[in-house]
């Protein structure tokens, strides 16, 4: 008879271990190579860093919607990227109108706030319709059914907005006060990017306070802990779900506005890739975990901005930025394989027997 210790040393563990080691070696090799070559100046790194932070805060805001909905419904809202797009795209017309009347530069702050408000409102409206039409009837269905419905809704929203607003890229008007750079602590930073980071952080703090301090927030946490028990405690679960969708969508709408400040254009397909990235961020932080989504988003944004040069350049790969999404997806896969509970850990334990 075989010795039993041999049985325990499984082939799966071995290959996973080899996979992890290979990725780590590649990352280390590339990083050392890049740093040793010293092709890039400190200024470049700072630029990349700040850009990464601003892009990451957009991801973080979108990721909140994924994480909150997953926490409560255990469902991937595949159409959340489109919710984000709908706000940014609709608000474009407001921004455009404000720019053409000159209001954007005469009263920049109220104007920008108006654009933000429209973006958030539109996203919220779209998400509420989405929940009402595509998800709520499927509450008790097997898990694949809502996922397919969400995929369908995602297509529908993309092409509905394409039909309504047109298929071309639209250039977002830029407010003068957001042009140029600020010198912050001796480092020059693009104004738009600094504003995006600060605004996103404020939003996230607000959301965190809402979830931790208000009655509704407490109800949300209770429902995500155990829906049945929460219902027995007299919590209106339907309402909590609606509020969750609304709050997540409002964050996505804000993210849409901030995205437009950084990237300065909108398009009907703009929600898809950031949607997947934000989902990655949510997984990275531990899905269902609100601070996790925030951290995951920032981390992903940073890594995506700095990573291609830091890792791939040193490996001698041509055009490393073409592979930035490979880095993202590799990270996603690695987290799912090795630490499915995310950086901060997921609250829901895996049930076995």
């Amino acid at each position: 008879m075989q010795p039993t210790w041999l049985w325990k040393l499984s082939f799966v563990d071995l290959s996973l271990w080899a996979f992890r080691a290979a990725v780590m070696v590649l990352v280390a090799w590339g990083t050392v190579g890049t740093l040793a070559a010293a092709t890039y100046s400190g200024e470049t790194w700072i630029e990349l860093f700040v850009f990464g932070l601003s892009q990451g805060s957009v991801y973080a805001l979108i990721a909140l919607g994924y994480t909150m909905v997953y926490g409560i419904l255990r469902m991937i809202n595949f159409a959340h990227g489109e919710v984000f797009m709908s706000g940014a795209y609709t608000a474009y017309f407001v921004a455009e109108a404000l720019a053409s009347t000159g209001a954007l530069n005469r009263n920049p702050i109220p104007s920008l706030l108006a654009v933000l408000a429209v973006s958030m409102a539109t996203s919220t409206l779209v998400a509420l319709l989405l929940e009402r039409i595509a998800y709520r009837p499927l509450w008790r269905a097997p898990r694949l059914v809502p996922l397919i419905s969400a995929i369908g809704a995602s297509f529908f929203l993309q092409y509905a907005f394409r039909g309504l607003y047109g298929s071309g890229f639209k250039a977002y008007p830029e407010a003068e006060i957001l042009r140029g750079k600020w010198i912050i602590a001796g480092v020059s930073v693009l104004r738009s990017q600094a504003v995006v980071v600060v605004a996103a952080v404020l939003m996230m703090l607000g959301l965190y306070a809402f979830v931790m301090r208000t009655r509704t927030g407490t109800a949300m946490r209770a429902v995500s802990e155990d829906r049945e028990v929460a219902a027995l405690m007299g919590i209106d679960v339907d309402r909590v779900i609606v509020v969750t969708f609304a709050v997540g969508a409002a964050m996505a709408g804000a993210a849409g506005f901030l995205y437009a400040l950084v990237f300065k254009q909108v398009h009907f397909f703009m929600g898809f890739v950031p949607g997947i990235k934000a989902f990655t961020a949510a997984v990275l932080g531990g899905i269902g975990n609100i601070p996790g989504a925030m951290l995951g988003g920032l981390f992903l944004g940073l890594f995506e901005s700095v990573g291609p040069i830091l890792i791939l350049d040193g490996l001698g790969i041509v055009a490393p930025y073409q592979l930035k999404d490979v880095i993202t997806f590799t990270m996603l896969v690695m987290v799912l394989i090795f630490r499915p509970s995310g950086i901060l850990g997921e609250r829901l334990a895996v049930k076995k027997a």
Partner: protein, 558 residues
Amino acid sequence: MTGARRLWGGAARTGLVWGAVAVFLALVGMVEAFAGRQIIAGVVSLGLTLLFLTGLASGYQAARLRPDGHATLALLRGALAGTAAGAAVAGLVIAGRLLNLRRVFVSASPTLFALLSLDQGAGGAYLPVAAGAAAGALGAAGPLLTGRARRPLLLGLGSVLALGLFQDLLDPVLRATAAGMAVRDALFADQGLSVSGALIAFLVVGGGSAVWAGQGATVREWVLQLPASPRTALRLLALGLGTVLLLLLPLGAGPFLSMVLVLVGLYTLMGLGLNLEVGFAGLLDLGFVAFFAIGAYTVGLLTAAGGLAIAQFSFWTAVPIAVAVSLIAGVILGVPVLRIRGDYLAIATLGFGEIVRLLVLSDFLRPWLGGSQGVLGIPKPALFGFELRGPEQLFYLTLAASVLVAFVAMRLRDSRLGRAWMALREDEDVAEAMGINLVNVKLLAYGLGAACAGLSGAIFAVMVGSVFPHSFQLLISINVLALIIVGGMGSMPGVVVGALFLVGLPELLREFAEFRFLVYGAALVLMMQLRPEGLWPTAVIRRELHESQRAVDSQPAG
């Protein structure tokens, strides 16, 4: 009293919801784009049919608010709902005249508003209201009809719509023969059906259905009364007839239709493969396109004439290699995700699919895979000195491959492995506790599924004659998953039905390309609510539904 008020209020609300749908259809551009498409030449366009349908639907729904109520009241409710829907459209027309909606909505053109007010200028705003009221009343009449009258009516109208829609497709087929030519002249005008043609179609189909409703039961009984051996013979005859028709299909269909059929076949192949994973073993996979790409690239690199090729094999040598490579790739990519479950698995495989595509696309691997230029100059396969040149010939290749894969899948389903897969789908932990080696069983599912996708990709490569990374979007993975679910999870005929509906139909309606995904998305959402078990569910699920239906029926009323 309040009950009645609620009823009328409900009707008005229903009408407004459908009105919103109509306004949406107008603003999204469908009405105008479809206005050019004549269903009945010079009388009815598809665009207006669409609007009219929203009116009908509002009336139908309003009448159903109280199904057993008074008929006149139901009609009035329908008319009210239709009026409300029409009013919404009228509101849009008026708004369009007063404001420049076009700054936001690209489709809000003067042509659209002219269409909506039936070319009556500013005074025509009342027309949608009147049309809505009429449509609503008509829709409300629907539930009042007996089943006997409703069925032929609906079938007749449906056939007129279908004939009008598919005129361009039928045209070349009908032109091919003298008899077909005669049918064509009787039914069609240059654009759409002629008025008399529409009437003929309506009467023939509607009448036929009415006759069948009378006689069909007798015929069915007659067949059921036949002794066993002639019945088997009858079934064999039908099967043989079906096979012959299938084999003759490309000859009559022409290159375009054949092309669509080949596409349906390729998706069927992938669907059958993914069905092993998702339908049988319950392993959600959204990165399936990677194996399609691997199959295509393997054939490309092994057979192409260009500089990238590493060999000059014939297609028949390359295909088994491509299938084997895909199978191995499936196993290799399966290993890391062995311990991931459920939704997470979908996302992880999605990640792998994207990684493969991005790598293929990158300049980094360009010297080997051609980057965005892809691999060009893939020769067509030859069989016994006969070149499978066009889609008509490739159709047979696809058909043969699909039949082979379906056969394998069918055998596997009723085997030890198939049962292990199902157990895995039902309860992974208990399956493992039953002595099933999860690693082997899962990797077999991934590998065999990937092999099917690889085969599909191999045929795809020779069909197109070149492979580009852009052919391997995430969309394909999603499409394949969706077609399995629309067909019915785990059901193999369902895969074919799903492919026909989600791949074939949109290809045929390609001229509406802009709205293809809009309709597709809406169809998926609706389908999940109305028929989540799929169009052709497995026998087990069908029986299940039947049983639960019986349970509902046998419950005492009240």
